[in-house]
């Protein structure tokens, strides 16, 4: 496993419901990021289709692996990069059970996927109408280190990042489609999740306007000490390269030992209280 890696925050806007155009853009940007020495290129939540696709999602969703992930795998092979992107997934066992999924592919093909656990269904969000929540956090062993995946609203629930970290993830990738009115929450929570877990956190948000929703961008790489190591522009497409040095984790983990000090018995209490809420 590498001690240092370079990753690209690929902050793009998407064409709503147009997978062909979005894949073209992804390929172009992966190639550009590779030319800047990026080994991992991260795209936003539902970057294959755009975020606001409403009922068209039933036509757009695919199995994973499936046709679009095959194309992305080929791009990863060809460019010798790892790629994280988001897409609507349809279950192999049913015809209309969908998930909001993050996919990780690499030079050797498909690595893994994560199904979003917390689906916002309030304000302008209607994710539970379409998606079934996931039930499993993930951390994948890769040549770029142990990489965990979470999606957008999951970051409001510290247990998702914590579980991902406890599965061994040293780099937590959070792909997102966050509209501008939520910016303050994400700017705070991304830093908090990195610090409390003594991990790197790469947050990649969508930009552009979909049905009046303006996505604010502001993608960033945060170090385990909470420092913003790389940051993309607000509101505009951007491609920013950041470096992860896993050696930075140990001093932080020793200085503020949040993982060593975890009290498992509190989680039983948390479960009890949450059930009675």
């Amino acid at each position: 496993m590498k001690e240092k890696i370079k990753l690209a925050l690929a902050q793009i806007s998407c064409k709503q419901a147009n997978k062909t155009e979005n894949i073209k853009k992804i390929e172009k940007i992966v190639t550009k990021a590779k030319s800047q020495a990026a080994e991992l290129v991260i795209f936003p939540e539902l970057s294959l289709t755009g975020y606001v696709v409403r009922d068209q999602i039933y036509e757009l969703a695919e199995t994973i692996p499936g046709p679009s992930t095959n194309i992305l795998e080929n791009i990863a092979r060809k460019t010798k990069t790892h790629i994280v992107f988001g897409m609507p997934e349809v279950s192999e066992k049913t015809h209309a059970t969908l998930y909001n999924t993050a996919v990780l592919v690499g030079p050797k093909g498909f690595i893994g996927k994560y199904r979003k656990m917390y689906l916002p269904t309030h304000s302008v969000f209607e994710e539970k109408r379409y998606f079934r929540p996931g039930y499993q956090t993930v951390a994948f062993d890769t040549e770029l280190g142990k990489i965990g995946l979470i999606i957008c609203y999951d970051i409001f629930f510290p247990e998702v990042s914590r579980l991902t970290r406890l599965e061994g993830a040293q780099l937590i990738v959070c792909i997102s489609a966050s509209p501008a009115v939520r910016r303050m929450f994400f700017e705070t929570l991304t830093v908090a999740r990195a610090m409390e877990n003594a991990a790197f956190l790469a947050y990649v948000n969508l930009v552009g306007i979909e049905d009046g929703l303006q996505f604010w961008g502001g993608s960033r790489l945060i170090g385990p000490q909470g420092k913003i190591l790389a940051k993309a522009k607000y509101d505009e497409e951007d491609l920013v390269i950041g470096e992860v040095d896993y050696a930075d984790i140990r001093p932080v983990e020793a200085f503020v030992p949040t993982l060593k000090d975890i009290r498992p018995e509190l989680f039983d209490k948390l479960k009890e209280s949450a059930e009675k809420l």
Binding site: R54, D55, Q56, G212
Partner: protein, 280 residues
């Protein structure tokens, strides 16, 4: 949450950017050739016309002035022209008096003493003119309804509310005033009392029975899920006033929604056919 005037303060530079970006994005995606605004010379329409000009360039924006003899106000016309000149967009003026009179004459049951019914004809007639221009020249209609009036149902159904986009509909009237000031709408336009100009002497605050400064704080409280009692207590007003405004807000929802039909089939237009707003 404290209901004080500063809660309505926003970063006006950021709002300006967000609204103009919204207009430009929709305009670009729609592949139309311009924007037409029904330009009364009041704060809302002047602000929207200016934002449109800032977003896509004044050469692609037309302010259509549609006065009629009963409510003709030379100052409004002057203001409309002033703002157009300052921000470099075009204006055209059509006197709609003869069209309105033809309507009045042709309706057998027309009652001139019913000001609301008659006023609505004016708003809907203006809509027809604006949409004719939009169709004829492949333009978008940009509406100028604000949040205070929209929430209160203080508009004509299928009239002044009719538009392809409504860029300031999420800003209360007092916020529109601040945005207008930020983008350079002349002070005299911002300062004059609002009026839908459907009949002579009509004033929005008089008709609504409340000053916008107070109305906006009440609506802000409603928007932020505050209970009636809490809003009344904080603003030191009678609970009955909040109840009355809440009733007005709830009972006018039919004016803000797409058509309602009886649910019969699998998926129904306006109900559970949930599609993206595809402007192209």
């Amino acid at each position: 949450m404290k209901l004080i005037p500063s809660v309505l303060d926003l970063d006006w530079s950021e709002i300006d950017t967000r609204v103009t970006r919204f207009i430009k994005d929709y305009f670009d995606k729609s592949k139309t050739k311009g924007i037409v605004v029904s330009l009364s010379g009041g704060i809302d329409s002047c602000t929207v016309a200016v934002l449109s000009a800032l977003a896509i360039g004044g050469d692609k924006v037309v302010g259509l002035m549609l006065p009629e003899k009963e409510t003709y106000n030379a100052q409004d016309v002057k203001h409309a022209r002033l703002v157009a000149e300052k921000f470099g967009f075009k204006t055209e003026m059509i006197d709609i008096t003869s069209t309105l009179e033809a309507f009045y004459k042709s309706i057998p049951i027309f009652d001139p003493s019913d000001g609301i019914c008659k006023g609505n004809i004016k708003a809907r007639t203006r809509m027809i003119y604006v949409y004719y221009y939009a169709n004829r020249f492949k333009m978008l209609v940009c509406g100028s309804s604000d949040k205070s009036e929209t929430m209160m149902g203080y508009f004509t159904k299928w009239g002044d509310i009719a538009a392809d986009i409504s860029p300031i509909m999420d800003l209360y009237k007092t916020q529109v005033r601040k945005l207008a000031h930020h983008i350079g709408v002349p002070k005299e336009i911002i300062a004059k009392p609002s009026s839908p100009t459907l009949w002579p002497g009509q004033l929005a605050e008089k008709e609504l029975g409340i000053k916008y400064e107070q109305l906006d704080l009440i609506l802000y409280g409603i928007e932020h899920f505050l209970k009636t009692e809490e809003i009344a207590k904080q603003l030191n007003v009678e609970k009955e006033l909040i109840d009355k405004l809440k009733h007005r807000w709830l009972s006018t929802e039919h004016k803000r929604r797409t058509l309602l039909t009886a649910k019969i089939e699998y998926r129904t237009v306006g109900a559970d056919f949930r599609l993206t707003r595809n402007p192209y």
